[in-house]
Amino acid sequence: MKSEEVLSKLLPIFHDVFDDPTIVLQRETTAADVEGWDSLAQINLIVAIEQAFKISFSFNDLKGLNTVGDMLDLIARKAA
């Protein structure tokens, strides 16, 4: 799956989870850039992503997810 394609599906998930349609995502965006992106929201993101892309993550996949770029790459790889 192409990165732009992943991003177009990922963005609405962020809008829903944070109830904020103005969020814009860049590859270098991190949890510190989005208000309310705490560990609880992280779980919501992960589960929503698994559901939307019909993939499931292993413990290893979830390590080192520091930026939106990491997320995009992981999804692109799993959903290939």
Binding site: D16, D19, L40, N44, A48, F59
Partner: protein, 593 residues
């Protein structure tokens, strides 16, 4: 009610959009504020967020205290400064089978296992006792779900060393204790997980990654069920089930198919299914839920449906009957009026999605479960939406339909008298007005939590608080029961006044709507004045705090001859009456002290 929170749940949708659901729930509604502490034996973050949604949907706006991870025992026994300041009104102990130690080995003898069981039980009992004596709060406690694996296979459920057996025994100890303990409410996680299926319940990845004791998909069901218990404690459960007829209570359209054409009874699978649903509805009625009909039909034809020889429900089971061609949301309003209950205490069951939609849109306070159009699912939907959740079973609940039936008898009587006084006189009313007595504390607590209209301060009490009022000597607290020749209305009124110097401050005065306009408020006030006088009180101080529902008593103190002392911008007012000049109020009730 918000559609996204209707059973059966879409866990992914709820969890993904919980923030916007919350925002919508908070828009323009009025809420009862409650302080809820969650003491968890596993992660509670998501559990808390979703309990909040379901409480908001039921009219309670919670403030939360959340214990640190797995600190439930420490927080209960040695509450932090923060918890003490928070002063919870409800504490939810979210423990699960993951919190059980199962210390015994396969070589341990029976006494060791028995001792482990008792120790485990005592640990929880200690928690409940500490919390209720410290905070006078209600405690909601999970029992235990069955384990995710069984070392002993099927033997696990009955062999002495089995974990399954241990859990079942512990659950039995919990039930026995809860049955006699007034502030403890069990949340039956054991049933809930069985209903959902343990396979769906457990999610080991979710456990190892985030320490949630159940999977993501189970959390909305858990939160919904816990919130239902809390709403029930505060009298927020619904009281009346409003039913459509054609294709809801029987198969077919009686206006077209005729009495012999409708499906009910044992002739076909569908007929049996409709009988099964009628039996469920009848069972609800027998435990105190009122029934009403709301059908687009000719009234005579609609009534005829219950004369079918196989009908489980009889016409006399219904407290209100609206069969006509009016829009259903208008009928619903009339049903609420005729039963004297708030429209938010109704639940509407109809197989037609269009009718459900109209009621949802024009009477949004009504609970509208997604009944569907498959009769085999009706019982499940009504049962699992938990809208009629009872906190306890009081004898008044069991008799409630009778009270309402008697009430319509009274309304018919009324038209045959020249004056209203004549009518009241003819009722032969006898009241018992006395100080709070132990056998009535449960009913009084229930009334303080569900009486909205004739309620001057709308102060809500837990059982423990009412008990404290009854036992403490500093308050004058009286209840009133009312009987008449149509029957016993049960305990219908309560007043609590705090003695301060030579003044009595009325903290609570409420009366059930089923005895409105009968003079009972006069009888109560007279009795309170007598009690106050003999306690050396010189004046009564009354308070009125307006809510969206208690407008009917805004002028009550004025009508009773109290003098207005203060009124603020919110319309809250304070009233005084000097006992030296108090004249007994007139009524037609014989009062037994």
């Amino acid at each position: 009610m918000i559609k996204d929170l209707a059973y059966p749940f879409d866990p992914h949708l709820i969890l993904r959009t919980k923030k916007s659901i919350r925002r919508k729930l908070l828009e323009g509604n009025t809420f009862l504020d409650k302080r809820v502490a969650i003491l968890g034996g596993s992660t509670t973050g998501e559990v808390k967020d979703l309990i909040e949604l379901f409480l908001l949907d039921g009219g309670i706006r919670p403030a939360f205290y959340e214990s640190d991870y797995n600190r439930y025992y420490e927080d209960a026994l040695f509450p932090s400064e923060e918890l003490i300041r928070f002063a919870p009104e409800i504490v939810y102990i979210h423990t699960t089978t993951s919190n059980l130690a199962f210390r015994h080995g396969l070589d341990d003898a029976e006494p060791v296992i028995e001792q482990n069981l008792q120790e485990e039980f005592s640990r929880y009992k200690e928690i409940w006792d500490h919390l209720t004596s410290r905070f006078s709060c209600a405690v909601v406690q999970n029992n235990f779900e069955l384990p995710d694996y069984r070392i002993l296979g099927n033997l696990d459920s009955y062999e002495l060393h089995g974990k399954t057996r241990f859990i079942n025994e512990l659950n039995r100890l919990f039930s026995e204790h809860a049955r006699t303990s007034r502030n403890l409410y069990l949340h039956d996680i054991n049933y809930l997980s069985a209903w959902l299926g343990l396979e769906r319940w457990y999610d080991k990845q979710f456990w190892y990654a985030y320490k949630y004791a159940m999977g993501y998909a189970a959390i909305p069901y858990l939160a919904h069920s816990v919130a239902a218990v809390m709403l029930a404690i505060y009298g927020r459960s619904r009281k009346c089930l409003v039913l459509d007829l054609d294709n809801t209570l029987w198969g077919g359209v009686i206006g077209d198919d005729g009495l012999t054409g409708i499906e009910i009874g044992k002739e076909t699978p569908a007929a049996e299914a409709y009988s099964g649903f009628q039996q469920y509805v009848k069972d609800l009625k027998s435990r105190g839920v009122l029934l009403a009909v709301n059908s687009k039909n000719d009234e005579v034809i609609a009534r005829e449906g219950f004369s079918h020889p196989d009908s489980v429900l009889a016409l006399s089971d219904f407290s209100a009957f609206q069969a006509n061609w009016q829009p259903k949301h208008e009928n619903i309003r009339e049903i609420a009026l005729s039963l004297n209950v708030g429209i938010d205490s109704l639940v509407f069951a109809d197989d037609n999605p269009l009718e459900r939609d109209i009621v949802e849109r024009y009477a949004p306070e009504v609970g509208v479960p997604v009944l569907g159009d498959n009769v085999c699912k009706y019982v499940e939907v009504l049962d699992k939406c938990l809208l009629f959740e009872p906190a306890a079973l009081s004898s008044d609940d069991l008799q409630r339909s009778l009270f309402y039936a008697q009430d319509s008898g009274r309304k018919q009587q009324q038209s045959r008298f020249d004056s209203y006084d004549d009518f009241l006189q003819s009722l032969g009313m006898v009241a018992e007005i006395r100080r709070f007595a132990p056998e009535y504390l449960e009913r009084i607590t229930q009334l303080t939590n569900k009486t909205n209209q004739f309620n001057l301060t709308t102060k809500r009490y837990t059982y423990a608080e009412i008990k404290a009022v009854a036992e403490r000597g500093t308050q004058i607290a009286i209840y009133g029961r009312l009987e008449d020749r149509f029957g016993d209305n049960g305990l219908v009124s309560a007043m609590i006044g705090a003695v301060k110097g030579d003044e009595l401050h009325l903290e609570l005065w409420l009366m059930s709507c089923r005895v409105l306009k009968r003079g009972m408020e006069h009888a109560m006030m007279n009795s309170l004045a007598d009690e106050a006088r003999s306690a050396g009180v010189k004046s009564l101080i009354g308070y009125y705090y307006p809510t969206s529902k208690n407008g009917m008593v805004s002028d009550l103190f004025d009508d009773l001859g109290f003098e207005n002392m203060a009124r603020n911008e919110q319309g809250e007012s304070v009233w005084r009456c000097a006992l030296a000049t108090y004249r007994a109020l007139t009524h037609h009730i014989e009062v037994k002290q």
